[in-house]
Amino acid sequence: MGRFLERLLQLIPVLLGVSLIVFLMLALTPGDPVEIMIGDQNMTAEQEALLRSDLGLDRPLPERFLNFLGNAVQGDFGTSYFHRRPVSEVISERLPATIELSLVAMLIALATAIPLGVAAAIHKNTIIDRIATVGSLFGVSLPGFWFGILLLMLFAVHLRLLPVSGRIGFESEVPSVTGFLLIDTLLQGRFSAFLDALKHILLPAITLGLPMTAILTRVTRTAMLEVMRQDYVAFAEAKGISRRRILFRHALKNALIPTVSVAAIETGSLLGGNMIVETVFGWPGLGRLVVESIFVRNYPLVQAAVLLYAVTYVLMNFVADILYTVLNPRVKL
């Protein structure tokens, strides 16, 4: 338990540092936020000064950082220049689409990588192993934005099997309950709408999950090979326990420990990939919102999103660390 607390306490300086960097990214940017906000409206110098002090921009940098931090903790990230609404409100509207996409991507990655990695390890140096190895090499080398476009050209344009963009067809729209369309459509018993949402999410989720699939395949394969070399597996074999039972009851359970914790760490690639994949597939999530915001210089939104992504990533790393310790009794908490 001491280690758990220690790791928890270590989070504090990291989160503070992350916030400081995100704050400085915006504070040290050339260009005046007030001028961006005003845009082409006419304002007197007094009104400008008032706006500046309202935003706290006339305070010294350390004080502004403390304000930023205090507000951020309360979920207040200021006003979106572009939407003229609180940043937190705009972000929380877009968040479910991004979370849903990421979860489905992760599910696809796990469901592909674990069987593939296990099969590759069991059938080491066979054609299956080759396919898994070469496949994962391609997986880490493929630029996601290009892979997405290829999938679109093949499945949406050429074969016309799947939609080109968006989350759901116009005719399938359902009132939002959880914000996750796959759940909302089922809750309301609209099975055809569920299928429609599934069709929309398939290509973006595959694209987003590809690097993770590649990495997890490798990790699972290596871990499985490692476990299969252990004495207890040889002992179980000597006892006459069937190979199948050894592999799935004993070996796999241990081999999955690294897979699960790497999966948690690799959510970083999902978070970054979101911006790319949502842009390619016109997915109305946070990633696309951020990219759009960059081009209209809507800095408070970009700042809040970067902070949100980073904090999520730090927490996922923490979870990975804890999971590893919990799953692996040999590492003491």
Binding site: F138, F145, G268, I294, V302
Partner: protein, 298 residues
């Protein structure tokens, strides 16, 4: 002071290098990849002599002209033309310059910074280590692409800014490797001996420890090159990279997005170039690692 650097170790080290090189040479896939990689470098360096057309010359009569082997194509425009009628093949050749230049510069600068920071943290310990290690922890708290996008959003696009945005985060990776290696090496007897002989801390770090951690960090550098190239392409794809009309593979793929219905070649070929380059770097660097990193020797 020079008494501590031992010329006698030079020849075994050289023969180890030769043996490792021989191991690498036996890995035919890795050697082939290295050869293709060299081809890309030659292409980038001699782009003006190799490219059949001017990469930025627009010609609206050739708008979305298909590749040579398709009806309407011509051999002078091998891979067809983009929406402005520019030759895709020539733009790919010029685009190699951006990818390889940024990949090399970012990794080189980050490696130098990483070596110095890692040596200082691992050898000097104390507050220097605390400061550098904290900074590393904090930077590791950002997903890479998000960090780069955030910085590019604030700094604005452009070649120098991409390099800066990537270096700010990239140096962490070699720094961690060097710090770890330094912690292990600093306790070895020969370092102890150098200290006893009164060598300065700077001398010990640079002349005694650095040569021992160099092979590990150079292997990491080659592996990192592939990631950095994908990151640059991703930034360019989003429009945050090198600005038009300069050809960059990432922005070329983005250009083609609007035409996937009628002109698949605009996005496909530049993407294929990225994939090939990244793939050969990955294969070659894995071969290097297997041959040169003692931990992978069975």
């Amino acid at each position: 002071m020079s008494a501590v650097s031992d010329p006698a170790t030079a020849s075994p080290a050289a023969s180890l290098f030769r043996r490792n090189l021989a191991t690498f040479a036996e890995n035919r896939l890795a050697v082939a990849s290295a050869a293709i990689l060299l081809g890309f470098v030659v292409m980038a360096v001699f782009a003006p002599w190799i490219a059949p057309q001017d990469p930025n010359e627009t010609d609206l009569f050739r708008r979305l002209q298909p590749p040579a082997w398709m009806p309407g194509g011509e051999w002078a425009y091998l891979l067809g033309c983009d929406a402005l009628g520019r030759d895709i093949f020539s733009r790919i050749i010029y685009g190699a310059r951006i990818s390889i230049f940024i990949g090399t510069v970012v990794v080189a600068v980050a490696t130098v910074i990483g070596i110095l920071a890692g040596l200082a943290a691992g050898y000097l310990r104390g507050w220097v280590d605390t400061l550098i290690s904290r900074l590393i922890d904090i930077l590791l708290g950002f997903p890479y692409l998000i960090f780069a996008i955030g910085l590019m959003a604030m700094m604005g696009p452009g070649l120098v800014n991409i390099i800066l945005a990537l270096v700010y985060k990239e140096w962490v990776i070699p720094a961690r490797v060097v710090r770890g290696e330094t912690l292990a090496v600093r306790e070895l007897e020969y370092v102890e001996a150098a200290r006893a002989l009164g060598a300065s801390r700077f001398h010990i770090m640079i002349r005694e420890i650095m040569p021992n951690v160099l092979s590990a960090v150079l292997v990491v550098a080659t592996i990192r090159m592939a990631d950095v190239i994908i990151l640059e392409a991703s930034l360019s794809f989003l429009g945050l990279g090198v600005q038009p009309p300069t050809a960059s593979w990432g922005s070329m793929v983005a250009d083609g997005r609007a035409f996937i219905l009628e002109a698949w070649w605009v996005s496909t070929f530049p993407g294929l170039a990225i994939l090939t380059l990244v793939l050969v770097i990955n294969v070659a660097s894995q071969g290097l690692r297997d041959a040169f990193d003692p931990r992978f020797h069975e």
